[in-house]
Amino acid sequence: MIELLTTKYTYLVVVALLGIGAYVMIESDNFVKKIIGMNVFQTGIFVFFISSAFHTAGRSPVVQSGGGGGPFVSPLPQVLILTAIVVGVSLTAVALGLVVRIYERYGTINERTLEEVRADE
C-alpha cells in the first residue's frame, strides 16, 4: 500500500489537471482547445500514475549489478505511462487531423459557429 498522505500534494495537482482538462473540454467552443483540454486531462492521469509510483527515498528502478540498491520507485506505472503517452500522442494526431478536415469543410473550428453552418445544410 502506497502511503496516500505523503503524496497528497501531487494528488491535488492531479485533481487540478483533471478539472482543468475537463473544464476546457466542456466549456471551450474551439475544437483545438478541446483537444488541448483532452491532453491536459490525460496528463493529469499520467501524473497520478507516476506519483503513485513514488516511494520516499526511493531511487530510479535500475537494478545494480549484484542486485539490491533499493528501495526503488515502482517501475511499473512508469512503463505503463510510457505506453499511454504514445497512445495519447496518436489520439491527438488523429484529432487534429479531424479538425483540419472540419476546417476544410466548414471553414471554422468553433463548435457554435459550426452548428450554425450546419443548420443551413
Binding site: 466542456i26 466549456e27 467552443d29 463548435e111
Partner: protein, 582 residues
C-alpha cells in the same frame, strides 16, 4: 321401447317434413300435403296407445323424444286436428304455400314440445316454437315485422327463464326426465323461473302485452295458427312444471280471466279483442292448473281442447270478415249478418261457446274449472255467499266475455247496414272450415261425455275426482244463463261509454319505451366510454408520432461535445457518490 311403426316417425318430424314439401310443392299440392299430414297425425294421436314413447340421448343426456300420456294426448289431438282445419282455411284465404309451410313448422315444433317426455327435449321444441312463430309473423311483412321482433325478444326472455328453470331443476334432480321428478319443478328458484318463463307464453298479467301486439298484425290465416299453439303449449308446460298446482298460479289464472275479458271489452280491433280473450280464456286453464286437483286439471285440459276449437273459429270468422271487407275495426263494420250468414252463424256458435252458454262446449269445460275452484280450492279472502274468491273471479270473467262478444257480434254483424264496398259471402272452403269447427263446438257442448272421454281424469268417477261433475244441472245452467243475462244487460248499459273509448294503452306502452330507451342509454354509455378511452390512447400515440415528425423538438436535447463530457462527469460523480467514495 323399440322402434315400432308408431314411434318410427314422431308427429313433429312428420309435420316438419311436410312443411318442407309444402314449401316446394306449390300452393295447391302443398296445402293438400299439409292437410293430409296433419289429418294423419290427428289419427295417429287418436289411435296410439298411452305409454307409446321413444327414448334416446340428446346432447349426451337421457331423453324421451316423445311419449303419449292422457295429458299430451288431448293437447296433441286438438293441435293436430285444428291444424288441419286451419290449413283448409289458409288455402281458402289465399295464404301462400310458404306461409303455410312456416305455419307447419310452428305446428310441428308445438307438437314436439307437447309430446316431449323430458325437459330438455321440451325446451328444444319450445325454443323452436318461438322461432317458427316469429317467422310466421314476420312473413307478412310491414308492421308485423317489428311486432314480430318484439315478440321474439320477449319470448327469448321467456325461453331463457325456462332454460334457467330447467338448469336449476337439473342441478337438484340430476335428470331432465319428467318421470324423475313427478312433483314438477324442484326448488323455489326453478319454480319461480318456470312460472314466469312459462307465464310469458300463457300471458300472465304484465307479461301478456305481446298477445294483442302481435296477433292482429300478420296474415289472417296465420292468426288462426298463432292463436292456438303458443299459449296452449304454455298451459301444458305449466302443468308439467306444477303438476300439483300452486296457489299463486291459480289466483293469477283468475285475475287473467277478468283482466283479459275487461281489456277485450275496450278493444275495437277484431283480432286485438280476440287476443285479449285468449288471455282471459287461458286464465281459466291456468286457474285449473293452479288449483291442481284432478277435477281442475281435467277441466283445464278440457278447456284447452274446447278453447282451441272456438278460438280458432273466432279468428276464422274475424278473418273472413276482414277478408271480405278489408276492415278490422269494429267501428267501421256492421250489418254483415245478411251478407255473410254462414260466417255470422259460425261466429255466434263460437261466441256462445267461449262465453260458456249452455249447450256449447265452453260451458262444459269452463264449468269443470269453476266447479273445481269451488269444491277443491281454498275459499280465499273474498267470499260472497256461496261463491269463493277464485270462483268469483272466474264468473266475473265470464260476464266480461259475454259482454265483449255481444259487442263484437253487435258491431260486426248487426249494428246498422254495412257501408263499405259490396260484400259477398265467404268462400266455400272458408265456410267449410268454419262449419267443421263450429259443428264440433256444438257437438262437444251437447255430448259432453265425448269430451269427458278425452280428459286425463274421469270427472264422472267419484274414485278419481273429489267432486263428481255434471254438466247439465239446474244451478249450473241457471248460472250460465244468468251470466249471459248479465252480459246483455251490461252491454246495454255500457254501450254508450264503450263507444267513446279509443285505443287503451296496455303495459307495453310502459315497458317498451323503458326497455328501448334504457337500452339506448346503456349502449351509448358503454360505447362512448370505450370510445373515450380509445381516443385517449390513440391520441397519446399520435402525440408521440408528432414528436418524431418534428425533429426540432428533440434537437434541443441533443448533446454537443462539451455537453456530453459534462454529462459524463456528472454520471461519474453520481456513481462515485453512490459507491460512497466522494
Amino acid at each position: 321401447m323399440a322402434a315400432s311403426p308408431l314411434t318410427a316417425l314422431p308427429p313433429a318430424v312428420l309435420v316438419l317434413a311436410a312443411a318442407l314439401v309444402t314449401a316446394l310443392a306449390g300452393r295447391r299440392l302443398g296445402h293438400l300435403v299439409a292437410g293430409l299430414t296433419t289429418g294423419l297425425v290427428t289419427v295417429w294421436v287418436w289411435v296410439a296407445p298411452a305409454g307409446t314413447h321413444l327414448t334416446g340421448t340428446l346432447f349426451g343426456f337421457d331423453a324421451v323424444f316423445f311419449q303419449i300420456d292422457p295429458f299430451s294426448r288431448i293437447v296433441g289431438l286438438v293441435f293436430a286436428f285444428i291444424a288441419t282445419a286451419a290449413i283448409i282455411y289458409s288455402w281458402a284465404t289465399d295464404a301462400s304455400e310458404r306461409q303455410t309451410a312456416y305455419a307447419l313448422t310452428y305446428v310441428g315444433s308445438s307438437l314436439g314440445a307437447v309430446f316431449a317426455g323430458d325437459w330438455l327435449t321440451m325446451v328444444v321444441w319450445w325454443e323452436l316454437m318461438a322461432v317458427t312463430s316469429t317467422i310466421l309473423v314476420w312473413d307478412y311483412g310491414g308492421k308485423a315485422v317489428r311486432a314480430g321482433f318484439r315478440y321474439a325478444v320477449l319470448h327469448g326472455i321467456g325461453g331463457s327463464l325456462v332454460l334457467g328453470a330447467i338448469a336449476w331443476h337439473y342441478a337438484a334432480v340430476g335428470s331432465f326426465l319428467f318421470s324423475a321428478a313427478p312433483g314438477g319443478m324442484v326448488g323455489t328458484i326453478p319454480q319461480v323461473l318456470a312460472a314466469v318463463g312459462i307465464g310469458v307464453n300463457v300471458g300472465f298479467i304484465g307479461l301478456h302485452a305481446w298477445l294483442p301486439d302481435t296477433y292482429p298484425r300478420p296474415h289472417i290465416a296465420a292468426s288462426v295458427f298463432l292463436c292456438v299453439y303458443t299459449t296452449k303449449t304454455g298451459v301444458y308446460a305449466m302443468y308439467r312444471a306444477f303438476p300439483d298446482g300452486h296457489l299463486m298460479i291459480a289466483y293469477m289464472g283468475g285475475a287473467m280471466a277478468v283482466f283479459g275479458a275487461g281489456a277485450a271489452l275496450l278493444q275495437n280491433d277484431m283480432r286485438r279483442l280476440l287476443s285479449y280473450h285468449i288471455q282471459s280464456q287461458v286464465g281459466y286453464m291456468v286457474a285449473g292448473i293452479g288449483i291442481g286437483s284432478a277435477l281442475a286439471q281435467a277441466g283445464a285440459f278440457g278447456h284447452v281442447f274446447n278453447h282451441i276449437l272456438y278460438k280458432s273459429l273466432l279468428f276464422m270468422t274475424a278473418g273472413a270478415v276482414l277478408y271480405q271487407t278489408g276492415e278490422e275495426n269494429l267501428k267501421y263494420l256492421g250489418g254483415l249478418a245478411r251478407k255473410m250468414p254462414v260466417t255470422a252463424a259460425a261466429f255466434t256458435i263460437a261466441a256462445l261457446s267461449i262465453a260458456g252458454f249452455p249447450g256449447f262446449n265452453g260451458f262444459v269445460s269452463k264449468g269443470i274449472v269453476i266447479s273445481a275452484s269451488h269444491y277443491t280450492f281454498v275459499k280465499g279472502p273474498l267470499v260472497v255467499g256461496e261463491f269463493y274468491t277464485l270462483e268469483l273471479l272466474l264468473l266475473l270473467g265470464g260476464v266480461g266475455t259475454f259482454l265483449s262478444f255481444i259487442k263484437f257480434g253487435y258491431y260486426a254483424f248487426l249494428h246498422g247496414p254495412y257501408e263499405g264496398d259490396p260484400v259477398t259471402s265467404a268462400p266455400r272452403p272458408q265456410q267449410a272450415a268454419m262449419v267443421l269447427v263450429a259443428a264440433l263446438c256444438v257437438f262437444y257442448g251437447v255430448f259432453d261425455g265425448a269430451l269427458f272421454g278425452l280428459l286425463p281424469f274421469d270427472v264422472t268417477d267419484e274414485a278419481v275426482v273429489h267432486h263428481v261433475y255434471h254438466t247439465y244441472t239446474v244451478p249450473h245452467v241457471v248460472e250460465g244463463l244468468a251470466l249471459a243475462a248479465a252480459g246483455v244487460v251490461g252491454f246495454a248499459v255500457l254501450k254508450k261509454p264503450l263507444s267513446k273509448i279509443g285505443r287503451v294503452p296496455d303495459v307495453d306502452a310502459g315497458y317498451n319505451p323503458l326497455v328501448f330507451y334504457g337500452t339506448r342509454a346503456l349502449v351509448h354509455g358503454v360505447t362512448e366510454t370505450y370510445a373515450a378511452v380509445d381516443r385517449a390512447a390513440v391520441g397519446l400515440a399520435d402525440r408521440a408520432a408528432a414528436v418524431r415528425a418534428d425533429p426540432s423538438l428533440l434537437s434541443r436535447f441533443r448533446a454537443d461535445i462539451g455537453g456530453s463530457i459534462f454529462i459524463l462527469m456528472l454520471v461519474l460523480g453520481g456513481v462515485l457518490a453512490w459507491l460512497g467514495i466522494v
